[in-house]
Amino acid sequence: MAKQEEAIVGRRLKTSYISTVVSITLVLFVFGLLGMVMLHARKLSDHVKENLGFSVILHDNAKPAEISHLQKTLDVMPAVKSTEYISSDQAAKDLMEELGEDFIEFLGYNPLFPSIDVRLYASYANPDSLALFEADVIRNRIVREVHYQKDLVSLVNDNVKKIGIGLLVFSALLLAIAFALINNTIRLSVFSKRFLIKSMQLVGATQAFIRKPFVIKGVIQGLIGAMLAIFLLLGVLYAGQRQIPELVSFQDTNMLLSLFVLVIFLGIIISWISTHLAVKKYLRIKTDYLYLY
């Protein structure tokens, strides 16, 4: 009979321990998920922006030396990620492939100009930088015009900004929720030990001595919660990449690792602070008041 009772009590105590860990896990998981979405969104927007680029259309009579000089000048600019020279013949060939028609034969001449395709780094792909860049490049004698889709650039930038702010606000909110939830869970588990804490105080234990095991337990719970959350995140990442193989190209291992470190850090810090505050609260209350709550 006593054994059975012990088993039931044991199970109950374990359940409360597990439920604390589970709630920490879930909160950190949602937080990490948001982090991953943000990471991918950034990579995606970078990808789109860097592919936007623009074309520097050259005059027909540009000499190869001049062209290669211009290309080199472009290459050393900090904004430029890569350049590619496309001769008029190459351009014609590309267009022919696209149209499936030999338009040179039809027209009798090649109407296309040679050009240099420029890809920019994401941070420079905004209308202001592009305008400056255009003004700079167009001064060159052999440049006929600079061609890019102004509207598209603005559109992409606006959307990325909106989504970015939205995600940022949401993640700040989620951080507050994470703290509140974990704090609440830990508070409850400390609350259930308030008489124990008081007894420890009455037999001459210092506050730090009483607090230590609680804080250690809290940190371990936070750590386990964080580990489980990361496990779940990896699962989601794996499933996501199975469903959308293109995602793999956006994966940035370093950023992902930083995110996981952040999740662990949050798990530990939040449960540490919460446990510390919760235990402190009951250390300060006089015995008689414990019965009032």
């Binding site: 124990l196 007894s199 009455l202 001459g204 234990a205 210092t206 300060r284």
Partner: protein
């Protein structure tokens, strides 16, 4: 104040929250002294003990226990005051989530012991004294009220304190065990420790005569002191 005075109260008022329970309490107990604290339930015996171990703040008056001044004692000092005092709580205050051995171990670790062998020895020693040497592995809820009370007594003895404050330590014990405990307490007091014991068990006075303080009408009276208005203790 004599050199050997270990508990000293002068003009102390005892408040429970905002209610004045006892006023103008004057009390001096020396090393080696054994004293009873009697009085009807609710007359402030436990509150007086709580003042002595820092669980109730001393609002006015002067008080000193084992070298610690009680008025305006810092929160941080209270644990160290309590290490000088062995307290037998009326409501036990055992740590219910661990065994008797671990209860005693906790107190030793909390108060600075770290020699495992010495701790083990000390624990066996005090458990032997209260007759529970074979039950150390049990959880507090698995033993009877009387046994729990004896564990509390063992815990109070474990640090060899200067002062023992006992709040009805024989309340849950059968006559034989309670006699054993009384003998133990008397012995302890003879080794230079002060014992103040709150009790209702008036039968003990014949067998173990000692100084008696009585809580009555908001005052603490030294029964043995020659005072004309003090009668023999009344029965509950």
């Amino acid at each position: 104040m004599a050199l050997d005075t270990i508990i000293e109260l002068q003009n102390v008022s005892v408040f429970q929250k905002n209610v004045l329970v006892l006023s103008e309490v004057n009390l001096e107990i020396e090393r080696g002294e054994f004293c009873y604290l009697i009085g009807r339930t609710g007359t402030g015996k436990s509150s007086l003990l709580k003042i002595l171990y820092g669980d109730l703040p001393m609002v006015d008056g002067y008080g000193k226990v084992a070298g610690f001044e009680l008025k305006d004692i810092k929160e941080k000092q209270i644990p160290f005051l309590r290490r000088k005092i062995g307290i037998v709580f009326q409501d036990f205050q055992l740590l219910n989530d661990r065994s008797i051995k671990e209860n005693l171990m906790f107190v030793m670790r909390a108060t600075g012991w770290n020699d495992k062998v010495a701790m083990e020895e000390r624990m066996e020693d005090v458990l032997e004294k209260v007759g529970l040497r074979t039950k150390g592995f049990k959880m507090p809820h698995q033993i009877s009220g009387g046994e729990q009370q004896r564990v509390v007594i063992a815990r109070a003895l474990i640090n060899d304190p200067d002062v023992i404050l006992a709040d009805e330590p024989t309340g849950n014990l059968d006559p034989e065990t309670s006699e054993g405990i009384m003998e133990l307490m008397f012995e302890i007091s003879k080794t230079g420790r002060a014992v103040l014991m709150a009790t209702h068990d008036y039968r003990l006075f014949d067998k173990f005569p000692a100084r008696i303080f009585k809580c009555e009408n908001g005052r603490v009276i030294d029964v043995n002191a020659p005072a004309p208005e003090t009668e023999k203790e009344e029965q509950e």
